[in-house]
């Protein structure tokens, strides 16, 4: 049995190495399955929790156009959560279980959504920075080894492309606006910049999953590589807005061909990951309330479907 598993595992790895996808019913090591359930569901939970900070602003959006585009964006996030839950379900876990993991606080999701969205400019900063950071990860994941995950990511990336542009456009409008608006934009950048850098996860030397994840192509670039890429692409975008990135150490390094940047507050990172973010409690509370309030609706729809089925069986006999 041991030998048999070793042989299967070698075949499995060579399949991944040669660039083939693993599909739901293919043999896979138990650890691969578990890691994928964890990562895909965390990703899905992040989309669902991610609906909340922006969702808070839909009713207060300043114009009809902004209202519609924000609503469509938040809805997309729900769709993305759904695609990802579906991908996780192919690995033998149910939506109900996944949901239970989220609601009970056992599952993790992207800590960024535990920060508050306090002004309208946050809708711009979140789209520009948070979606910008997420897209880098997501583009990479379209080439991941697990087929259903990769396909979900292709779909998501196609749809996400408007999100970042929408966010940047909001920032652009603010930065061309009145003094109050410019201040609002700068304030949002100040608050979202560091949490956005934290989105890429701990430093490579402290990242526990990186090596295995690279082997399985769940990750193709390391946390630090992606973070650097993000900084490099974002600095000129901030300049274009006339905004200042809140990092006195930020400086172009001609030798490296990259921007140097200051130290991330890893204590804050750990605290927020551990569930002590500014809005951690509120986010989970909101999710639980929605889920609990929906229980009778889900039950009713199921009961109705069963009754209808019985009825059509009776009519047929």
């Amino acid at each position: 049995m041991e030998l048999y598993n070793e042989k299967l595992e070698a075949e499995f790895q060579s399949k991944i190495d040669s660039g083939q996808n693993i599909e739901a019913k293919d043999w896979m090591p138990e650890k691969y399955r578990k890691t994928h359930i964890r990562q895909i569901s965390q990703h899905a939970h992040s989309e669902i929790i991610g609906m909340l900070p922006e969702g808070n602003w839909i009713t207060r959006a300043p114009s009809l156009k902004r209202k519609i585009t924000l609503l469509a964006k938040v809805q997309d996030e729900g769709g993305h959560g759904l695609y990802l839950y579906s991908a996780a379900e192919t690995l033998g876990i149910s939506r109900a279980e996944l949901n239970e993991q989220l609601n009970s606080g056992r599952a993790k999701y992207s800590s960024i959504f535990n920060y508050p969205a306090v002004t309208w400019a946050d809708m711009g900063a979140v789209g520009w920075l948070v979606d910008g950071a997420a897209i880098m990860n997501q583009v990479m994941l379209t080439r991941t080894s697990y087929g259903p995950y990769a396909r979900a990511m292709v779909r998501i990336c196609k749809e996400e492309s408007f999100h970042q542009r929408q966010g940047y456009e909001i920032m652009l409008t603010l930065s061309k606006g009145t003094e109050v608006q410019k201040r609002m934009a700068q304030d949002a950048l100040n608050r979202w910049w560091w949490p956005s850098l934290m989105m890429f996860g701990p430093r490579d030397e402290e990242s526990v999953h990186t090596e295995q994840a690279m082997k399985w192509k769940i990750k193709l670039k390391s946390n630090d590589e992606l973070r650097q890429q993000f900084v490099d692409q974002t600095v000129p975008q901030a300049e274009l807005l006339g905004l200042t990135i809140p990092d006195p150490k930020l400086k172009w390094n001609a030798e490296r061909g990259h921007y140097d940047f200051g130290d991330i507050d890893w204590e804050e990172f750990k605290r927020v990951v551990a569930g002590k973010g500014p809005c951690s409690y509120e986010r989970l509370k909101t999710r639980n309330e929605a889920w609990d309030k929906g229980a009778w609706v889900r039950e009713a729809a199921m009961a109705f479907a069963e009754k209808q089925q019985e009825k059509s069986l009776k009519e047929a006999s």
Partner: protein
């Protein structure tokens, strides 16, 4: 075309869309959440069409956002039905269905309007609203015929919401004038469609059509329930706090 008549048409989808958008991220399942948001998006699209038309009609550089956001409470002309809160999912579905049952024949009539721009807006909207009606009427039947609890909740929501349907067909001065000009809808002709629709759906859902509707204030004339003030506090927040800015 009468400016006030356009506001009457615009404010219903505006306020109902607002209520639906409060639910985004809070639905009973992810699938249902996405479906309700689609309805809200359709409604806001219609609002833009009406408000753009109204802004042009008004002239003096008025914009669609000024029309939608910058009026006093008594200048909003939506029916009271649309401003009712999301007490529970039965209220959401009941409110949606009753409005759809009215909205569908309304748009059918408006698509024959002598005002070709209005007819164009109605023709585009009618396909969207046919889907809303399909969605909401099926959910009324699901909840009405689901479990005992869902049946009770659906009936209880309808018992309250029904009282607001009287206003739907009450003709205001503006509506009368537009009807006579061949521009607006004729409620006399719409009513039988609404009644037949409601009778069928309530019957299939195993629900009782409540008594009444009894007399309420008239949102169409700008006399609203307590709900509208709170809605406007959200809706107008940015425009009021930061006046005269581009967003």
């Amino acid at each position: 075309m009468n400016y006030q008549y356009l506001l009457l048409l615009a404010d219903n989808p505006l306020i109902l869309g607002h209520r639906l958008s409060e639910l985004c991220g809070h639905g009973p399942t992810l699938e249902t959440d996405i479906a309700l948001t689609n309805i809200a998006l359709d409604l806001f699209g219609q609002v833009r069409n009406y408000c753009q038309y109204a802004a042009e009609l008004h002239g003096e550089g008025k914009t669609e956002d000024q029309v939608a956001f910058l009026r006093y409470e008594h200048e909003y002309r939506n029916v009271l039905l649309t401003e009712q809160p999301n007490h529970d999912f039965a209220w959401v579905i009941g409110r949606q269905y009753l409005f759809d049952a009215y909205h569908l024949p309304l748009l059918t009539q408006l698509s024959d309007s002598k005002d070709s721009r209005l007819a164009g807006i109605a023709m585009k909207s009618i396909k969207e609203v046919r889907y809303h009606h399909r969605f909401s009427s099926e959910w009324v039947k699901r909840l009405g015929g689901g479990t005992e609890e869902s049946h009770q909740r659906m009936q209880a929501a309808m018992d309250q919401l029904w009282s607001y349907t009287g206003e739907l067909f009450l003709e205001t001065e503006d509506e009368k004038a537009m009807k006579e000009a061949g521009v607006g809808a004729d409620y006399g002709k719409m009513r039988p469609h609404f009644d037949a629709d409601v009778q069928q759906v309530f019957h299939e859902a195993g629900l009782v059509i409540p008594e009444g509707p009894w007399h309420r204030t008239i949102g169409k004339n700008g006399v609203h329930s307590e709900n509208l003030g709170y809605i406007l506090a959200d809706l107008q927040y940015m425009q009021r706090t930061y006046p005269n800015m581009e967003w």
